[in-house]
Symmetry: C2
Subunit: 291 residues, 2 copies
């Protein structure tokens, strides 16, 4: 068997105040704490420094967006360099006037940008009016070399799409992150809450299993408007085992040791990539197969 290749991964689960600067400073404090606990690759939650802006269609919310590079990524690049850690920084990106994305910048441990992913699958549901705000990503599914691991990022709604995980894994991702802002509607929680959380976690665990990669999902926590973000951030190994999980309430830094050599072990014993029937997958590019 290959020798161990251990990487400490940190997932930051946070509440957000109205003031983006407050959120940025608290995020930095959380990153420092995670690094102190040994984290080398740290992932923040979706649109990490603002309250989730999509509960209504409000033009004023576009002012929460920032450019890349911009204040958040510049601040995080300095911290990454200072601490020698990789940071995944998901931001509400203003690309130009009238063109916004839900994005994530991967900052390498020297403070340089390793890559930029723009969320490909954009939801539009009551209280999650993201199609109003975010243009779907135009860069495809990506993984980026960093000092400690090859890092792939998908964002929230992407989690429901096995195609996204597959294509990111096929780019060589070892750590596949899902920065997320998902929660319960309090009126539904008693009936559907456990099932909804389970479906979310099950999908992401399935991406670990199908692709033999580590998955890590840092999720927002706390009540904003009509949503109770359910926290419950977690890390799964390449067999889909949940390695650690944050509570459903309260801020949390989850720091987990991931032995990247397990990817080789898992794929040797479960060689799913060997057998994919790529000759029969053309219809995956269809919307539906009409009967």
């Amino acid at each position: 068997m290959s020798s161990k290749k251990e990487v400490r991964v940190g997932l930051i689960q946070m509440t957000c105040a109205e003031d983006a600067e407050v959120n940025l400073q608290r995020s930095i404090a959380n990153v420092r704490e995670a690094a102190k606990a040994g984290a080398q690759v740290i992932c923040l939650q979706e649109v990490f420094n603002v309250q989730y802006p999509c509960q209504t269609e409000d033009h004023a919310n576009f002012e929460l967006a920032e450019t890349i590079p911009g204040p958040s990524t510049t601040a995080m690049a300095a911290i990454a360099k200072e601490l020698g850690v990789v940071i995944v920084v998901p931001v509400f990106e203003k690309r130009t006037h009238g063109l916004y994305h839900n994005s994530a910048v991967v900052i390498d441990a020297d403070g340089q940008t390793a890559g930029l992913y723009r969320k490909m699958h954009i939801p539009d549901d009551p209280l999650y009016y993201e199609k109003f705000y975010f243009t779907p990503g135009d860069r495809g599914f990506l993984a980026f070399n960093t000092r400690f691991a090859k890092v792939g990022v998908c964002i929230c709604w992407d989690q429901w799409y096995p195609e996204a995980a597959r294509l990111t894994a096929m780019q060589g991702a070892e750590l596949l992150f899902y920065p997320t802002a998902i929660g319960w509607i309090p009126g539904e929680k008693d009936v559907y809450g456990a099932s909804q959380y389970s479906a979310w976690q099950t999908m992401i665990r399935s991406h670990s299993i199908a692709n033999g990669v580590f998955t890590g999902a840092p999720n927002r926590v706390g009540v904003e408007g009509a949503i109770q973000f359910w926290g419950g951030s977690f890390m799964a190994d390449p067999y889909g085992n949940v390695m650690a999980q944050s509570p459903h309430e309260g801020e949390n830094q989850l720091v987990v040791t991931c032995d990247l050599s397990l990817i080789n072990t898992a794929r040797t014993h479960w060689p799913f990539f060997r057998d994919r029937r790529i000759d029969a997958f053309a219809d995956l590019q269809k919307r539906w197969c009409e009967q």
Copy 2:
């Protein structure tokens, strides 16, 4: 909301003796029991009437195969017609001399053949030397109209491939069956057993969630040679909730009421098909994305 459209589904979990005729007769008895409990669509386990033939590479085992139509499918067609039930009959198919498949015939409630699926993804692992026996299917991923529901079938190893589930769902499958022969190696079970079962169930549940369909996995049970087949057959709803699950030991008919109108409800509230980035999926037809 749409009104209910209830279908009773039966999953037959069996041990297999050496004598195929004994297994056929016991399967028929199990089908009768399930039908008596109200089952309208009944799925048997993978290569249902023989002991799992792939633990060694033994040319003599090809004699266990049968043609389609052949003794098993003819017998099951008569039972389907008599009882007015749909039966999914997975057989070790001899297509011609030297050409074998791991197949499943869907027999409609009038005894007519609704369709034939041939397992697309063929494993080859210690104790599961299927590539020696089975040519990969050449019919693609399919779903078939039956009296009670549109039925899709994938077989065992297919379960690890989200592409297979997606393409079958895109053919219109409402019930997606995974006849299976999966088990523990007794020496590994204490350490890996729970994780392995969980990975198996998690993948199939994820297919329910991602595609908004019912999944049903009837699995073999009992010890044959070096494998302890883990039973644990289960049915999941379009949200991935496990509706019912068989024990890990002993024969079992799991009969579950599936309200097919939940497919519409689930896909309305979780409209994942709406947003698939089919413009970005071309690389799914690649083996790997070289770096």
